[in-house]
Symmetry: C2
Amino acid sequence: APTAVMGRSGWQVKSSKLAFNTHNRIRNIVESLKIKPNPEKPMIPLSIGDPTTFGNLKAADETMKAVLHSLESGKFNGYAHTQGHEASRQAVAQYSAHQRPEGAIETSDVVLCSGCSSALEYCILALADRGQNVLIPRPGFCLYHTLAEGLDIEVRYYDLLPEQQWRADLVQLESLIDENTAALLINNPSNPCGSVFDEKHLRQLIAICERHYLPIIADEIYEHFVFPGSKHLAVSSLTREVPVLSCGGLTKRFLVPGWRMGWIIVHDRKQRLGNAVIGLKNMCGRILGSNTIIQGALPEILAKTPQSYFDGVIEVLYSNATLAYKMLKQVRGLNPVMPNGAMYMMIGVSIERFPAFKDDTHFVQELVNEQSVFCLPGSCFEYPGYVRIVLTVPLAMIEEACARIAEFCDRHYKKDSSHSSSFIEHVLLDEDELNF
Amino acid sequence: APTAVMGRSGWQVKSSKLAFNTHNRIRNIVESLKIKPNPEKPMIPLSIGDPTTFGNLKAADETMKAVLHSLESGKFNGYAHTQGHEASRQAVAQYSAHQRPEGAIETSDVVLCSGCSSALEYCILALADRGQNVLIPRPGFCLYHTLAEGLDIEVRYYDLLPEQQWRADLVQLESLIDENTAALLINNPSNPCGSVFDEKHLRQLIAICERHYLPIIADEIYEHFVFPGSKHLAVSSLTREVPVLSCGGLTKRFLVPGWRMGWIIVHDRKQRLGNAVIGLKNMCGRILGSNTIIQGALPEILAKTPQSYFDGVIEVLYSNATLAYKMLKQVRGLNPVMPNGAMYMMIGVSIERFPAFKDDTHFVQELVNEQSVFCLPGSCFEYPGYVRIVLTVPLAMIEEACARIAEFCDRHYKKDSSHSSSFIEHVLLDEDELNF
Ligand SMILES: Cc1ncc(COP(=O)(O)O)c(C=O)c1O
Ligand SMILES: Cc1ncc(COP(=O)(O)O)c(C=O)c1O
């Protein structure tokens, strides 16, 4: 007979705290909207972060062929090393050589992961313990919060300043640091800002990390995704003192988000990460890495996808950015911030000029309902007062969307003579004229 | 000037507890061995769990073609729903219809994951909080421990009894349950035992769960992997009372471990999992699922891979099992347990009969060094006194390996007249003669 035990007394199954607190902020906000698009107008979803949705942008033939070769070889069905196949990691090391100008990246510095999301998860979870904190950008990609919160890792937001091309507020950032700060997370180029940090600013960030002995987690998934006139610098290329975990992958640049091929490059020239590198590699034992067919294709993908392909994608994004910026800049009550890279543009909404709407979320909701144009509210990125649009749609679609946004704003704009800040604000926010 | 802050005072970066405690037990033990294979004899690694390593077992043409079609369609490069593409989940639901005889599995009951490992991770992490415990089998697959430990989820081992065809010790199992027990994990068919629970035993396990209100996590990655004379029953097919999270995938049956396609099927007929189902789905937002090319191929893979292919694989495993069992049963000091499924055999080692070796790990080490045959010590599965061999190698290789093992054992076997238990033990452990 079973010994008497004290088990549960009923079906009180419930979610763990971790799972319950793994929130997707975007989904939560989007689901709370009361949306009924205008049936007269075809829907234009400027909210969708997947660049392959609209059919105008797709993976290069070379990229696809590499996978075909890998598949046909029949050699990539088995388990890989938990950190990835040697040859695939070697290919990533070579592809990322610019991240470490003074010497070669070793294969053992590369960890393949299931998408950049998984790379970020491992970095955050390997560096931060429950009760510690990680500094993350505001506005910023909501996944950082999703990954950390359930594990009781605190996220502390440092502000990016729209009037300074979304550079970080260094003073505020530094004031957040305490003895429990485990890492500074930088997202460069940025989602949702489309900003690209220049060398000077990166060096300022590095200096703070050096002062406070903070490793950097660099979300560089938009690496090389920069518009003419800007230059992407890997933060790891500018410091040998501060350890950097650079997270990247095929997702954005190769336009294959579904393939889930991401990676971490460990830059730890002075061996300062200690056993955190072991911890990071331990993490790979949890789910055993990413799809091996793609791993097998990686050397060919990285070597053969031509520059002309990347240039073509940038051209699309840049044309869209230029057009949208030009059109939206003329809309009263809106303050678009011209991006320098990535695939997004943030648009400030002077909400006091739109008394019909109580906030950015409400603004976005009514924009769908009247004009069938869907933007993401800034609240999705912890940044109310803005909306984000994607730049990955066909040019005609962005044009039509901007025209509808203009119509919508004109309709709801309320001139308020008692409130004269708007003009000044508009001038101040135009980075074509003022350079901070 | 920056405000004065209290940051760290030096580079004391260290691994988080989670990452540091994400141990791979097998790797730790294997790495601790002092191995120098005998150069006179070619190495036979009977340790490798990857069935594709030896070239004799490979994915079906139909499986490979399905991926080709998915790739060529160009439709599966974008992000999928975090729980997987609708059509792919629908295909898994149909494929798994036997798990729920009384009604259809809904698409929303299926969650695609990055391998069965990721499925198990989500199930354990969604059901158990820090400080709670999960019951897992001993001997058992070490990943359960790897996944739980770092999160301070306690694993409590229930014993599988070799003399009872590795059925669970029900009394001992039930004695482990307390109010902090979050789930019972069943691995059926089992790695490393190769055992297949019969209906009666599954019902006994279900009864315990019903008594104590425990959901079941069923690791059924070896589903359908049973030898002639045995039958695989999905535990979910036998109960509507106890919620079951069944974890499966393509890995083993379709011989494509590298593809990382796993899934969870949520069986919660009486809605007893409460918000744990939401939690489980939340978890999918962390790394955004599994490779979409494989997702796109899933309907065709599951529909078109022919029964003859699966039968062929079983035939190989069964022949190997039969041969190895026959050969090793005659070796003094060894007690092989004939498996009924999966891809492994456990072999008891009467270590007191081998005074040259202090334990199973030492035995395994010297077996490599003398005979170049590598088995995994039972310690890798929390079960010293046994070694595990894989049954996925070519027949000639298993024959050669068993011959070498026999030679090794004969050489080191010490007859001890003062110790008469061995003969009795040998008889007792032979399930051909005794049926418990
Ligand atoms: C800044 C940023 N980091 C990471 C990711 C996730 O990339 P992946 O799809 O490779 O996981 C995204 C995707 O939108 C992103 O915008
Ligand atoms: C019992 C058991 N469960 C789960 C797994 C992991 O499967 P996957 O490779 O799909 O993550 C294995 C792999 O060996 C296993 O033996």
